[in-house]
Symmetry: C2
Subunit: 166 residues, 2 copies
DNA sequence: CTATAACTTGGAGTCGACTCCAAGTCAATG
DNA sequence: CATTGACTTGGAGTCGACTCCAAGTTATAG
């Protein structure tokens, strides 16, 4: 129950798994708020700052560009999304984006599995936006089968061709 | 069915959902093999080329850098992964990468849901149980993939409090 | 015959996200 | 007191992945 544990930029970088330069860069572009400084001018971080950096790393891993991460942090900082309906909308929309990304990734996994299983390749990985799939948590969704042709940028015979046996 | 349908670069770009410049760029960096040319020098594409480009787009969406996509295409082109055990290993490893990415994304979705549901934030997406594994050294040169140390997402236990578990 | 459109090429420019550097400050150490 | 090390700053450089441009060719339309 110590008062408040604090960290140097180096310790913070280690804990969050990113470089000190990156932390300074995030502050520079104001993705992170200006960190408190000690008397000697050194940056001082607290657990919540590390959590924020971790959140950034996590979102980045989902392929979200830094600019899109901003609204998440704004909400995060305020702990009150209800007050920012616009941000909430953006977040909800990004949630949908992520959900479809999950579907897309799952298809790639299926694709790989099929290829590896039968020693053949070729056949596209259905891309894109799919209509309305719900949420759910594919914990270990073994084979869910490559989805049927749905969306598609255009009405193409693309899906035609050789189907991977099965 | 006609023998072999062919497409111009523009049609190909439209079908694959990327720009013609990007197709030329991929050829320039040899991610795509040099396309056949017509008598007038124009590039000529076939369905399989479009499939390949779609595969690239799909893998890109999973956050894979172009250089890592190469081996996939090599296997794809040969339609015989069995002959390239090394490539198969890389692909398997990328499969794992994708699976963990899915977990990561699901984490973010859960995070958002919790956030939106209770109007509070804070609680990271973290590397939660990183009690005692070696941290990734900052000296890590060029590796952006998910280090094993980076994956320890909390299960949606975030409900109750916000006290970081350590 | 010219204009337009669709392509070709090599190369330059852009953008996001770092990553590195030089010069300086400050605290502790030999 | 000189050195070492961890930090500070502003700014330059890098890298991946495009994106745009100028100059040229070829095919078709008016």
């Amino acid at each position: 129950m110590n008062a408040e544990m604090t960290f140097t930029i180096k310790q913070t970088a280690e804990q969050a798994g990113i470089s000190v330069d990156t932390i300074r860069y995030y502050e520079k572009i104001a993705l992170l708020p200006r960190a408190d400084r000690q008397d000697n001018g050194h940056r001082l971080y607290r657990m919540k700052d590390i959590d924020t950096i971790r959140l950034i790393s996590c979102l980045k891993k989902t392929g979200m560009p830094l600019e899109e991460i901003r609204p998440f942090l704004a909400v995060s900082a305020n702990s009150d999304p209800g007050e920012y309906p616009e941000l909430v909308d953006r977040i909800k929309s990004h949630r949908e984006h992520i959900v479809s990304q999950i579907a897309s990734l799952q298809q790639v996994v299926d694709f790989i599995d099929i290829k590896l299983a039968e020693g053949k390749y070729r056949q596209d990985c259905p891309n894109g936006s799919q209509a309305g799939m719900g949420e759910n948590k594919p914990r270990e969704p073994k084979s869910k089968s490559v989805s049927p042709a749905e969306m598609g940028y255009f009405p193409v015979s693309a899906k035609a061709g050789k189907s991977p046996a099965f």
